[in-house]
Every structure is written in structure tokens, then in C-alpha cells.
């Protein structure tokens, strides 16, 4: 970025040098900071092994809809027929019917995955969405700003917003029946599943069970536990006898915890801003030195000589305007 000075100005060279210094210093500090090793993500303190989890065996689901109905009942929801076809403020889980190419039908229960390092929790500026000490992702409506950044962040497009509510819209999603769990009860959906397609337990227990099932029936199941690594690991896990992508699962989800993508940058800000503060303060001091002391610098313009308008009578005591 060295420039040719086509038309020399009296102060041109100083200006340019300072431009270059400014740009070099700031770009330099940004680049250095960008390359420094990322500080470890302050990962959630929740134990990944003992977190309450759910295993959905898609090959066993018969699409009866009991889970959806009991979820509505347990959470006091009243979805319309249309609302029952998807996730929204009145429906925290639903059964997606998928017709495969060979004519077979599968039913996919969808709800919040309760990520262990949840994107939505890291995104929320008011800690409204938060991870409970046990692991499920819950919500305090009174803190929520309704900014909807959680919706942008969720890799599974789960959080729903109440678009028709003027002043107190909430973010709505499955909270893993956290209150029921606190009282020692099972989540409503799993308690009412007639086929055992959903199973509740600790995450390590369910992972072991799922791995055992895959190992025992290698020809039947797809060799993948959806949620074991997706988005850094989720509490809801799925096994299936047909490929996950054919069922509409997002298979391109990164296995890195999503919050790490922003924390990579955020954790560098102190370094960048710190070094910039040093550079700027140094430059400011150098400038002050170069300019020398101006005895007039604290005199407001209207009291300086030769500044157009006539000088007014001083009224420093009263601090009053011209009245």
C-alpha cells in the first residue's frame, strides 16, 4: 500500500504516513489476534453422561400421535388441526409422515433436540433461554427480548415465535418437560408411547443401548446415531433403519458445538481491543507532544479572538444560556 504522491501538498506526506500507520497498526492487531489460538470455549458445566436424554427408534414408531397429544395436554396447548401439522407456539412436537421412494412410510417425531452445547443458549442476549443444571434447555419469558436471534442460531430450526402477540410474545419450544422431570415424572410424550419407540434415560445409558442395538442388528439399522455428534452432541438421539437424509434430517450439521463459531471471535476481542487501546493512546500522546501546549485550548470558540462573532460577556458563574 505504498502510494505515489502525485500532487505534493504541504501536509500531504504526514497525512499519508499517518494513514498508513493507522491502517497498518489496526489491521496488524486484528490479524495477529485472529491467528492467536482460540481460548477454549467455556463449555457447559452439565455432565454429558448423566444428562437426561431420549432415544427415538424411528423403525418402531407407528405414527399414532399419542406423544403429540400428551405433550399438548401436559403443556396446556391447544393446536388447531393446521397447527398440529408442524412446530409452533401451540405445538411443541409433531409426527412428520415421510413417504419413501420405495413406497414405505416412516414417522419422524420432531421437537427440540436439547443440544448439550446449545446454539440458542449462547445466542440469547438476556439469558432467557438457558441450560438447566441437569441439561434440558429451558426458558424465562420475563427476560426474553423477543429478538429472535435464537431462531437464527438453532441448527435444527426449532424455536418458534408468537407473531400475533403485540407486547408479550414468547419463544415456544419443547422444554423437555423439565418441571415434570423435577418432580420425578417422565416427560409426557415418552410416558404415553405404546411401542417403546421413545426411551428415556441418561445420555450415556441410551448411547450404550443404541450402540448395542446397532451392533446386534447391523443389517437392519443405519450405522449412525443422529445426535451423538451433531451440533456437538444432543440429548435427543435417533436411530433409524432408513438413511437419515431421506427422512429430512439435516445431515450437513457440523459436529462442532455451534457456540464455538462465535466464541472463536468473541474470545479474541479483548486482545484486539486491548492492543488497539495501547496503540491509540500512544498515538494520542505523540500527537499532543508534537502539537505542544495550546494555552487557548480550553477557551470555547466564542471567546477566542478573531472568530467572527463578537465576544460575549462572560457569565461563567451562573452557567446560564443567553436567555
Amino acid at each position: 500500500m505504498t502510494a505515489q504522491n502525485n500532487q505534493p501538498r504541504t501536509d500531504g506526506s504526514i497525512t499519508r504516513r499517518q494513514f498508513i500507520k493507522l491502517s497498518a497498526a489496526t489491521v496488524g492487531s486484528v490479524v495477529i489476534a485472529h491467528q492467536t489460538k482460540t481460548r477454549a470455549l467455556a463449555a457447559s458445566k452439565v455432565s454429558r453422561d448423566t444428562a437426561p436424554a431420549m432415544l427415538v427408534d424411528l423403525s418402531r414408531c407407528i405414527g399414532c400421535g399419542n406423544c403429540q397429544r400428551s405433550c399438548a395436554e401436559a403443556n396446556g396447548l391447544a393446536p388447531t388441526t393446521e397447527q398440529a401439522q408442524g412446530l409452533n407456539g401451540q405445538n411443541f412436537t409433531y409426527i412428520k409422515k415421510v413417504e419413501l421412494e420405495d413406497g414405505q412410510v416412516r414417522f419422524v417425531k420432531r421437537q427440540c433436540m436439547h443440544c448439550l452445547d446449545a446454539a440458542c443458549v449462547s445466542a440469547c442476549p438476556a439469558s432467557a433461554l438457558h441450560q438447566t443444571p441437569e441439561g434440558p434447555i429451558s426458558y424465562y419469558p420475563n427476560r426474553c427480548l423477543g429478538c429472535r436471534y435464537c431462531m437464527v442460531s438453532c441448527p435444527f430450526d426449532i424455536p418458534r415465535f408468537e407473531w400475533e402477540n403485540g407486547l408479550t410474545p414468547e419463544i415456544r419450544k419443547c422444554m423437555f418437560c423439565y418441571e415434570r422431570q423435577q418432580e420425578g415424572e417422565l416427560p409426557a410424550c415418552v410416558a404415553n408411547c405404546p411401542t417403546g419407540a421413545i426411551r428415556f434415560g441418561t445420555r450415556s445409558e441410551l448411547l450404550a443401548y443404541a450402540h448395542a442395538r446397532l451392533a446386534a442388528n447391523p443389517d437392519f439399522y443405519v450405522d449412525h446415531i443422529y445426535g451423538e455428534h451433531e451440533a456437538g452432541g444432543t440429548a435427543w438421539l435417533y436411530i433409524s433403519d432408513v438413511p437419515f437424509e431421506s427422512l429430512g434430517f439435516r445431515t450437513d450439521v457440523t459436529t462442532r458445538p455451534i457456540p464455538a463459531y462465535t466464541w472463536d471471535i468473541m474470545s479474541k476481542l479483548p486482545t484486539v481491543v486491548g492492543s488497539m487501546a495501547v496503540v491509540l493512546t500512544g498515538a494520542a500522546i505523540a500527537t499532543q507532544r508534537r502539537k505542544g501546549h495550546d494555552p487557548d485550548h480550553n477557551v470555547p470558540p466564542w471567546e477566542r479572538e478573531g472568530e467572527g462573532e463578537p465576544i460575549e460577556v462572560k457569565n461563567t458563574q451562573s452557567d446560564q444560556g443567553e436567555g
Binding site: 493507522l22 409452533n88 431462531m151 437464527v152 455451534i258 462465535t262 471471535i265 470555547p300
Partner: protein
């Protein structure tokens, strides 16, 4: 049904038109008393004001609907596409366009380049109004603004949230901008003590302002890094925050050119053409570097093939980088062109348009690959944005009439270049 409409019409006239006319009438006569400003009611002026006022009226209706029937009533936003024009334009682009203020303030106060002082104050005023309206837009856009006003994010902070950091920085930076502008008010009122106090803390304020700007301008880019796998690969890069910061400076300086030209026309005053030209020279290197970095980044991530794909996204990318960086960088590197007043004005406008498109691509269009083209702003959304924009313009005009925003005409002004 018919009665309802009649009722609504009557209410509309009574509640909106009449108060609006009253406010304008009283405001105008007061203004005339106080400052001797006289308006000429030429047809051009009347239609202009009429358009702006009708825009404000639509916005007023939109606001009422938004707070009674919810965001869904006036926006095209859905659960699939939760953030739209108000975030993409008002917040993302608004902050970017205010970027000139921290650069110029830094040049003048930190690096002692006094020659930029004549355009500093109007730049700070532009930025302050931009940020103030950004906050207003945000308060309209979020579902529960009362929780912001009750400072919930301060008590229930989340340092992992980029949005939290942006919110804090914007809050503090708007205060800093207000303080940086206050001397103009104190000069008008001739409050010596107050002027001296603010004058004393200006240098630290400017440094804090630069740090806060660096933080939030870059973080407005980091915000979208959480949308991993959703934002199109042409824009999704770990360098996004750095690019946002660089372009905030480049486009911010472009905005300084536009704003100086506009006010020179509106107030029939001279133009600091040599200052703008020297800024443009710097900006040509800056934007040139930015353009190269943008392309290098795409290649470095192994997505070079995307640059030639016949898709809408590729087209948007080229238009955005071309208008926002490549073309202006080349044009402004020519002394002949950047010394020419109208040419520089036009280039400034092109930079601004390209910059805005960049922010819209990151926050809106770039998501289309994932969601499908499900969102375009509704009329109401556009009207509200336009209303805020014109409102900011009106306040700018008013304040620059009432306060010493521009340097006095006789000091070092050139009207050259035409």
C-alpha cells in the same frame, strides 16, 4: 362493515392527521420565531413534504398494528425467516453508514490531522442520528421491547452472546456520540463550564468510541457466524467480522462524501472538496485491499468455483463486491476523477449502495440458499424504514439550522471541481 371503515377513517383523521398537522404547524411557527427560518412553498417542496408525511402516516399505522396485533400483522417475517429488513437495513447497514464518525474523530483527535475538523461535526451528527434511529428500529423489531427498557440484558448478561455484546456497545457508543456532539449545543447556548467539561474528556471519549466501534462493527458480522450451514458460503467465513469492520470504515467514509454533498446542496454552502478528495485517495487503497481480501478469502476457503456459478447468489456477490469495493477503488485511484466534485459524489453513492447490499446479502439474501426465497419485506416494513430514514434527515436539517454543525462559510471552503 361500512360503519367500521367510516369509524376507522374518522379515528385516523382525528388521532393521526390532526395531531400531525398541529405539531407541524406549531413547530413551524415556533421555528420561524426562534430562528427566522422561512420555507418557500414551491410545488416541489410541497410534494416532497407530502410524500414524506404520508410515509410517516403509514408508519404510524404500522406501529399501532405492530403493538396491538403483533409483528406478524405488519411484517413478512415467519418462523422460517425470523429476521428481516429492520435488522438487515436499519441495524446492520445503519451502523455501517455511521462508521465514518469514529474514523474521522480518530484522525482529528488521536492523530492530530486537524484539516478534517470542518467535516467532523456533521459526520458525528449523522452517526448519532443513525444510531439513535437504529435503536428505535430495534425497539420496534424485538418482540418485547419493554424488557430492553427495563435493562434485562444488563442484569441477565450473557457474554457468549454476540447480540448482547452488540447491544451493549451500541448503547454506550450512542452515548459517546451524543457527548461528542454536545459541544455544538453548548456553543449555541454559550454554556462555558459545560463546554469545558466535555472538551476535556473529548480525547478519551474518542478513543473509547473507536474501541466500541471496532467491537460492535465487527460483531455485527460475528452475529451471523452462529448461522453455520445456513448462510451461503460466499459470505460465511471466519473473517466476516474483520470484513465488516473494514467495510464499515470504507463505506462510512463513502457516506461522509455523500452527506457532505447533500448538505452542501441543501444548505447552498461550499464543499470541502479537497478534504473529500484526500479521504477518497485513502479509501481507494482501503477498498482495494478489501476487495482483494474478499476474493482471496473465497479462494482460500476452496469455494472459488462458486464465483463463476450462474446463480443469483454469485450475481449478488459480484454486484456487492463490485459496487462496494472494486469499481470505487479503481475510480478513486485516479486523481482526475476524485478531484471532480460530482464524480466523487457519485462514487460515494455507489459505495454506499454496494455496502448496504453487502449487509442485506449477509443478513437476508444469503439465507435464501437454506430457506428458499421465502422472505421479502412487506410494504409496512419498507414504509417504517423509510419513515425512520426521512425522520433522521429532517432532524439533521433542523439541528444543523439551529446549532453550529457546519463551519462558518468564510473559513477555508472551496467550491471547486464543477
Amino acid at each position: 362493515m361500512f360503519q367500521d371503515i367510516l369509524m376507522l377513517g374518522a379515528l385516523f383523521i382525528l388521532r393521526i392527521i390532526v395531531p400531525l398537522l398541529l405539531v407541524i404547524g406549531i413547530g413551524y411557527s415556533l421555528l420561524r420565531r426562534l430562528t427566522g427560518v422561512k420555507l418557500d412553498f414551491s410545488p416541489k417542496f410541497v410534494t416532497g413534504v407530502g410524500l414524506v408525511l404520508s410515509c410517516w402516516a403509514i408508519a404510524a399505522i404500522a406501529l399501532i398494528l405492530r403493538f396491538t396485533n403483533g409483528l406478524g400483522a405488519i411484517t413478512n417475517l415467519t418462523d422460517e425467516f425470523p429476521l428481516g429488513l429492520w435488522i438487515g437495513f436499519d441495524v446492520m447497514a445503519g451502523a455501517m453508514l455511521g462508521g465514518g464518525a469514529f474514523v474521522l474523530a480518530g484522525l482529528v483527535y488521536v492523530f492530530g490531522i486537524e484539516r478534517y475538523r470542518p467535516i467532523l461535526r456533521s459526520t458525528i451528527l449523522t452517526a448519532f442520528l443513525g444510531y439513535a434511529l437504529l435503536i428505535v428500529a430495534l425497539l420496534i423489531d424485538v418482540g418485547r421491547p419493554q424488557n430492553i427498557l427495563m435493562l434485562r440484558p444488563v442484569f441477565f448478561f450473557n457474554i457468549h452472546s454476540v447480540l448482547w455484546e452488540v447491544a451493549m456497545c451500541v448503547m454506550f457508543y450512542t452515548t459517546v456520540l451524543a457527548l461528542e456532539f454536545l459541544p455544538a449545543l453548548f456553543e449555541r447556548l454559550r454554556w462555558k463550564r459545560a463546554w469545558q467539561i466535555v472538551h476535556k474528556i473529548t480525547l478519551p471519549l474518542v478513543i473509547i468510541g473507536i474501541l466500541l466501534s471496532t467491537m460492535h462493527q465487527s460483531s455485527l458480522g460475528s452475529m451471523w457466524l452462529i448461522a453455520n450451514g445456513k448462510l451461503n458460503d460466499l459470505w460465511y467465513t471466519p473473517w466476516l467480522p474483520v470484513f465488516f469492520w473494514i467495510s464499515a470504515i470504507g463505506v462510512g467514509l463513502g457516506m461522509v462524501t455523500v452527506e457532505s454533498n447533500l448538505s452542501s446542496r441543501a444548505f447552498k454552502r461550499g464543499l470541502e472538496q479537497d478534504l473529500l478528495a484526500s479521504l477518497a485517495k485513502f479509501n481507494s487503497y482501503w477498498l482495494g485491499f478489501y476487495a482483494i481480501a474478499r476474493l482471496a478469502d473465497v479462494v482460500w476457503r476452496g469455494k472459488a468455483y462458486m464465483l463463476t456459478e450462474p446463480t443469483l447468489m454469485t450475481l449478488l456477490f459480484w454486484v456487492e463486491v463490485g459496487l462496494g469495493a472494486i469499481v470505487p477503488a479503481i475510480l478513486m485511484s485516479q486523481p482526475k476523477i476524485r478531484e471532480h466534485k460530482n464524480a466523487l459524489y457519485a462514487i460515494g453513492a455507489v459505495i454506499v449502495v454496494g455496502g448496504i447490499l453487502n449487509r442485506l446479502c449477509v443478513s437476508m439474501f444469503g439465507m435464501w440458499t437454506y430457506t428458499g426465497p421465502v422472505y421479502l419485506p412487506s410494504i409496512m416494513e419498507v414504509a417504517l424504514t423509510a419513515a425512520l430514514f426521512t425522520f433522521g434527515g429532517a432532524v439533521f436539517v433542523l439541528l444543523s439550522r439551529l446549532l453550529p454543525v457546519f463551519p462558518k462559510e468564510e473559513t477555508a471552503l472551496t467550491a471547486s471541481g464543477d
